[in-house]
């Protein structure tokens, strides 16, 4: 039993037949080979699977693929349309906002959503905006710095 859906991923329309129990993250990873979106906890605490759905951050491990029918999804691979790096990607690299790198794509996607809502965030706003993303390596400080750097060094 499969269900037809049409979903736009990183600007490209895909018409697919999916099992009703397939999760969006598995659609992205297994069907579309977009493996930059990671699975960490299965239950939406860690945020490694964060993508943008119609512009808002969403944890793709807790969205069924069929729920994405008609939606526009942006993953880490689609963040910079022109090639090169999105300012947040550059900032995470420059500010050493990663150690193992596994949580990084989700952190960056949450960061995009955060800067969308708070273009000039305070430290507290940054921490609030990222509290749905776990990082076990860094203690968060360099991640907060990276967001701040991407926002143009705003304090």
């Amino acid at each position: 039993m499969s269900v037809p859906i049409s979903v736009t991923v990183n600007g490209r329309l895909h018409e697919l037949e999916v099992e009703p129990r397939m999760l969006l993250v598995h659609l992205l990873r297994e069907e579309l080979n977009l493996t930059g979106t990671h699975v960490g906890c299965d239950t939406s605490q860690c945020g490694a699977c964060t993508v943008l759905m119609d512009g808002d951050s969403a944890k793709s491990c807790t969205v069924f693929a069929v729920q994405a029918d008609g939606a526009s999804v942006t993953t880490i691979e689609g963040l910079s349309a022109e090639g090169g790096m999105h300012p947040l990607q550059q900032a995470f690299w420059d500010e050493h906002g990663l150690q193992c790198g596994y949580c990084t794509p989700g952190m960056i996607m949450s960061g995009v959503d955060l800067l969308d809502r708070h273009p000039d965030p305070s430290e507290q706003e940054i921490r609030r905006g990222l509290d749905g993303n776990l990082c076990r390596c860094t203690g968060y400080e360099h991640i907060v710095n990276a967001i701040r750097d991407a926002a143009g060094g705003a304090k």
Partner: protein, 760 residues
């Protein structure tokens, strides 16, 4: 060797971006779960719902009849494991225990213990098939704490086990004269004469402390993909801290020569010690052999919490003797650490580390490794040390209070210095312990005033010995003046950068000229795990040696080009080769001429360096405790540490910050919760609560740099010690804030509030 001066380095101490950064921020980096091979099957594991049960029968027939299911395995599909102790890296272990932990034999010994595995054409089909494997269990009484386990009448989890007397930390001796139920081993560490030490004391305090079970909590779940081909060669792609260690384990369990196994490390999404043991990898291999197809297995998060990791829950009793002026005369500890279902807790390290920041003439630690019906523990960042330090550093705080001495001053009065003997009898040389305490004393945090109600400040020390072990590296000079650097150490948090920086320093070239790559076990010499705070130290030594070999060979080439005696040619630290009559060649210039002067130049090194430099840390923390809910908020945190030479200061700070935050989790929120039947009740990251951005403040770091004379660049391991002080630092801060002394961690509101409420 010559003590490294704090010389003005060219590359070391700078903060370049990491070579693997682009791929990690754009989602292109390949982690183990990204692997996809033609014809690949998906494996899943069936786990015991019981903490302790006899397995009467496993019937896979219904699962095998399910469309899409290709194979089911149990332990019977593996070669019989002999019941003998083998030496496996740092710890001696019995092969049968290792194998039984991968897949249960006749008994399941913890909730989540693997009993069977299935391979199917689709992950969903594999999951469905798990429900079709029929297992008949006969539940047995579980043993769930060291106290229960060591009681006279306790059921023996391993009926034939007898307490072994350890001769030293990693060397088992004879059967103990005092057999204790479920105590796999007893280790006594001792210096001086304890009786004399306590006789000299004017004040003696004795306290008990306990810690819960915590998990390493890496965000990437375990994964492994195996292909066992028709010639009997096994290839495994996976997330591991130690590809060679994994090869060793697989060879032993599968009874294959190591030459038949190739382990390909993918990018690793965190480990902290937990990605060293084998779990699903041999299952994936056996399923591949059975089906003739590659088999990929990925754990779900509940399986990670149930079946891997964690660290020991612990009980530590500590007794201190001191003079009125604060001078410690004697220290005694009794440590009992949960090993989980099979022997091998890090209790010896707990006893080894807890007194080490101090000069105490008479010391004894009795360390018991205790079997319980919980997952077999694995290493977790400074394994064993945080619980021991929690006890010692809390007791010191109580002592300081009783003697009315400032807690930092008490520590400074007793500080271990060069020449101080540790509990294992060895004497320290070139340690930064006092310098760390001095930096704490001078820190803005310690000198700031803490204002406000319900607030308190705590301080604690931590010690960790750091590791050495084997490392292999080689480097190739390319014609364009770059260097390809080939590494056996997997990169878990910036090792490519830290190692590229060291060879760039040795060769006098720019960091950007070095192209590091991590390779598989067929492509480089034996390299021990990325862990034990050893990689920047030992692999750094290897790349330095490889660099020196390149320098010597390039001198010879320059001599040949100039047609002069090689003794007249010198490779200078700025990367320029100089000869007689002001002749000189830059690195890039000579690199471009190699193909005309004898071909490519490579430097290689296989090292096993002695001379590891121990690490000391001091953490200061301010907390506020809500008087109504007992929720603890961390307001300010400063971590001071002797880091030897900070190769890449941002990464050193990152190690300290990450370790400190893990320690905050251990102290406040992280804990396995079991019911009376031994079932884990919180196997998810919703209920197993790791710190988020909102749970911790900025972690301020102060790097003290006392170069390690045992390393060419003065490197000390930095990764582990930052998790040692936080438990006691926070407990001491909570005490100052509330008057309540947390002696059981985590200091969750549930535990703390009971103590804080006035008695009815």
């Amino acid at each position: 060797m010559v003590a490294p001066a704090k010389k003005p380095y060219r590359v070391i101490g700078s903060r370049p971006v990491r070579p693997d950064g682009t791929d990690k921020v754009t989602g292109r980096a390949n982690y183990g779960s990204d692997i996809r091979l033609p014809g690949m099957l998906y494996g899943r594991v069936l786990r015991s719902p019981h903490a302790h049960a006899r397995i009467v029968r496993i019937d896979p027939s219904k699962a095998l009849a399910h469309p899409g299911v290709k194979a089911v395995i149990t332990q019977a599909d593996f070669p019989a494991a002999e019941d003998v102790i083998t030496d496996l890296g740092e710890t001696a272990s019995n092969l049968k225990w290792l194998v039984d932990n991968v897949l249960a034999s006749d008994r399941a010994l913890y909730h989540g213990h693997a009993v069977a595995a299935v391979a199917a054409t689709d992950p969903h089909v594999a999951e469905d098939a798990l429900g079709l494997i029929e297992v008949e269990y006969e539940p047995l009484d579980p043993v769930l704490s060291v106290h229960e386990a060591m009681a006279e009448a306790a059921p023996r989890i391993h009926p034939h086990m007898h307490t072994v007397e350890m001769l030293a930390r990693f060397s088992p001796g004879p059967r103990s004269e005092h057999d204790i139920p479920n105590a796999a081993s007893h280790l006594r560490l001792e210096i001086g004469d304890l009786e004399q030490g306590f006789a000299e004391a004017e004040i003696v305090i004795e306290r008990e402390y306990e810690t819960g079970t915590a998990h390493q909590g890496y965000i990437e779940p375990h994964n492994g993909t195996a292909l066992w081909n028709e010639s009997g060669e096994l290839t495994v792609w996976l997330s591991t801290q130690g590809p060679f260690m994994m090869r060793d384990q697989l060879a032993r369990m599968l009874k294959l020569p190591v030459s038949k196994i190739r382990v390909i490390p993918m990018e690793i999404g965190g480990g902290f010690g937990g990605k060293i043991p084998m779990y699903m990898e041999p299952m994936a291999a056996a399923l591949s052999r059975k089906t003739g197809r590659p088999v990929k297995m990925i754990m779900q998060r509940d399986e990670v919490l149930l079946g891997t990791g964690p660290t020991s829950a612990t009980y530590v009793r500590v007794k201190l003797g001191a003079r009125r002026d604060g001078t410690l005369t004697a220290a005694e500890a009794y440590l009992a650490y949960e090993a989980g279902a099979y022997p091998g807790s890090p209790v010896g390290a707990g006893g080894m580390c807890m007194f080490s920041p101090y000069s105490i003439p008479h010391q004894r630690a009795d360390c018991y490794d205790v079997i319980v019906n919980k997952p077999k523990v694995s290493a977790y960042r400074a394994p064993g040390a945080p619980a021991g330090a929690f006890a010692m550093e809390s007791a010191l705080d109580e002592l300081a209070e009783q003697l009315d001495i400032d807690p930092l001053e008490l520590r400074q009065r007793n500080a271990a210095v060069d020449g101080t003997r540790r509990i294992d009898g060895a004497a320290f040389r070139s340690i930064g312990n006092e310098a760390v305490m001095r930096a704490a004393e001078e820190s803005p945090h310690w000198n700031s005033e803490l204002q406000g109600e319900n607030r308190g400040r705590g301080i604690a020390m931590g010690y960790w010995g750091n590791g050495g072990l084997e490392s292999s590296a080689y480097a190739t000079v390319n014609r364009d003046g770059t260097v390809g650097l080939v590494l056996g150490s997997v990169d878990i948090g910036g090792q490519r950068a830290a190692l590229a920086m060291q060879i760039a320093e040795t060769l006098g070239i720019d960091y950007e000229q070095v192209k590091p790559i991590v390779v598989d076990t067929d492509s480089i010499g034996y390299t021990a795990v990325t862990g034990g705070s050893r990689t920047t130290f030992a692999s750094g030594w290897a790349v330095h040696e490889a660099g020196l070999e390149i320098r010597r060979e390039l001198e010879a080439r320059a001599a040949r080009i100039w047609e002069v005696d090689a003794a007249l040619v010198h490779y200078d630290d700025d990367g320029v080769i100089r000869g007689p009559e002001d002749r000189s060649l830059s690195f890039a210039e000579i690199a471009g001429q190699l193909h005309r002067t004898g071909g490519t130049v490579q430097g290689k090194a296989d090292v096993m360096p002695e001379g590891t430099g121990p690490a000391f840390a001091c953490h200061i923390v301010d907390v506020e405790v809500d008087p109504d809910t007992a929720k603890v908020e961390v307001l300010r945190y400063t971590a001071i540490q002797d880091v030897g030479t900070a190769i890449h200061p941002d990464y050193v700070e990152g190690q300290i910050q990450g370790g400190a935050v893990q320690g905050v989790g251990m102290a406040l929120t992280e804990e396995y919760v079991y019911d009376d039947e031994g079932r884990l009740r919180n196997a998810s990251l919703l209920d197993y609560r790791m710190p988020t951005t909102l749970d911790v403040p900025q972690i301020e770091t102060i790097l003290v740099e006392e170069p390690n004379p045992g390393h060419p660049y003065g490197v000390r391991g930095v990764g582990e010690v930052p998790i040692v002080p936080p438990l006691a630092a926070i407990a001491n801060a909570i005490h100052q804030a509330t008057g309540v002394r947390p002696r059981t961690l985590p200091a969750s509101p549930r535990v703390l509030l009971e103590e804080m409420l006035p008695e009815a």
